[in-house]
Point group: C2
């Protein structure tokens, strides 16, 4: 443990390993010539996330086949600031499009809860489960009984599954029951789900109710990972901001560190859910000499590098990123990002 107390002030510093955002949302992910993916990696590294696992669903564009995967890769190749992994998104009719080569190029299979508000037919989901390589993860953002269907299929196929953006106490219950019966299921909650509610932000059904949020905090030991997810983007859009690829990324660690200073979380809780478990769940290569130095206990408004709307407004946080070091090189220091895109595609790693 390398925490130190600054002798001249009440704040202290702490060093994390390079953190992982297990569910990064990039609005123009597979839109031709979009710079969103690059911007997302800039925000990511500046926020301490040295690895981003990208949700392959975006704003009307998704990675569903060879062409969309190529488009997404070409949007970022050579210009990424953090390491990133791309996955394929299942649809009702694309199981035959996934040949061995394409599967090898993807980190995971994402089974979206709903496409255009319709669940994928069960027969198609079952076909995906049967054909997806057993050594590669399957993830989903399914909720409620859609989630139950997927957990059943995972159980029947004896497959691991990671559930992203858990919001609801019933879903936590399903997952914990499944874990208790040795089903290989893991899950994350979006960091915004721990700090913002649909009572605070009307027309934000992608945030939990206050009651569900309380339950999420109580069941934190069932939560394997924290993620940024898509809710910050959706909340920014609801707020009239238009939504940026950096939405919620800069807020993530300051929110969690503030909870540490309030005694609601430990630093180890963060390391476990933003590094150790993500590395294990997604089989990520270790990043040597990579760490994130943070300061805790200095109450101040969030300093944003990216000029986008934030639900924090002028409220104070008690944590900030001081420095981000990747492979021994300082890429971010006190609000300044080194313009050196050293991120790599680790989809096949």
């Amino acid at each position: 443990d390398v925490s130190t107390i600054d002798s001249k002030s009440s704040h202290r510093t702490h060093t994390f390993p390079g953190l992982v955002n297990v569910a990064a949302f990039v609005p123009g992910l597979a839109a031709s010539n979009s710079s969103d993916f690059i911007d997302a990696t800039r925000a990511s590294i500046s926020a301490g996330f040295t690895t981003s696992i990208i949700i392959p669903q975006a704003q009307g564009n998704a990675v569903v086949d060879r062409a969309t995967l190529e488009t997404a890769k070409s949007n970022v190749v050579g210009s990424a600031y953090c390491n990133y992994a791309l996955s394929l998104s299942a649809s009702a009719d694309n199981v035959q499009l996934f040949d061995d080569e394409l599967k090898a190029e993807a980190k995971a299979l994402f089974i979206p809860s709903r496409i255009a508000n319709k669940p994928i037919p069960l027969s198609a989901v079952a076909a995906h489960f049967s054909s997806w390589p057993t050594e590669k993860p399957i993830l989903t953002d399914a909720k409620g009984s859609d989630l139950a269907s997927l957990l059943l299929l995972a159980s029947l196929h004896n497959r691991t599954i990671h559930v992203t953006d858990v919001q609801n106490v019933d879903d936590v219950l399903l997952i914990s029951l499944s874990k208790a019966k040795n089903l290989k299921v893991t899950c994350d909650v979006s960091i915004y789900s721990l700090f913002f509610t649909r009572e605070q932000f009307s027309s934000a059904p992608f945030l939990p109710s206050q009651e569900d949020q309380n339950a999420l905090w109580k069941k934190l030991d069932m939560i394997d990972a924290f993620s940024v997810g898509s809710s910050p983007y959706k909340l920014a859009v609801e707020a009239g901001d238009g939504g940026s690829p950096s939405a919620g990324v800069e807020e993530a660690l300051p929110l969690l560190l503030t909870a540490v200073t309030e005694g609601r979380l430990s630093l180890q809780d963060i390391t476990t859910r933003l590094h150790d478990n993500p590395v294990q769940i997604f089989g990520l290569p270790d990043q040597a000499q990579t760490h994130v130095e943070v300061v805790l206990g200095r109450r101040a408004p969030l300093v944003k590098m990216f000029q986008s709307w934030s639900p924090l407004g002028r409220s104070l946080v008690s944590g900030a990123i001081h420095r981000v070091i990747v492979h021994g090189q300082t890429l971010f220091l006190d609000g300044t990002l080194l313009e050196l895109p050293t991120g790599k595609d680790i989809s096949s790693a």
Copy 2:
């Protein structure tokens, strides 16, 4: 095999063992002083069903606790024409009401898909799974992703579950996947679902589409039992008949026998799904010297003992009940029921 060809005509007879309706619907089941339960057993025995397993959900009344179970029992005791078994219906808040004595008096636990169009909260369903005796069956009429939730819970609790009134090809798929992975799941289809569709009867969402009906016929080897279920009652209500406890009961065997004469079913298919499998799934006591003699191949309109609306109208069927014998005594012969209520409560048998 005791089939014989009548030398003077083209029809033949066949003798079944006493048949079981695994899902009998009684509209006034737990309504005080209702005669529906007695009427249902009269219709049942006249139709060849010497045993009725009663769905504990009815028309605004359900068997959910000690009082409703007592009311249902008192409605029929000493006046039943066929053997009958009662079950308890799960709700969001009745798991604590089921003490050991009450559980011992019930054949099974029924988990209704929805109560007032809302699914039972998963935590309540999980509590029911945990507390219901392992040797007693659990049944449900859940569909779609509600069904997936229950199959998952059954799998997690290593419990057998019987799914009644399967209508949808996706549900058959879920069940057959589960069977393939050795989950202890069985299912029935309502006989009306094999012969009537929502295309034929508008405003009958409780009937399958023509496409789903075709799929049910194709997947018949996945179907463990046939039932009467609640769809005949609902269809009669839709037709403006008001609905009677005999709805669909008299139609059941003639419809199936007609399918035999058309080569779509074998007599063994019927015996398997209306006797052998029901006895096995529900652990029913065998009824000695009990059988049902039918006539096949004589095309005629259905002769109804009970003057209720029928979807058959004046169309012809090729099968009829000739005689029903229970414990060596003829209780029904050529349209006449012996007014001798010898049925017993086999809920605890």
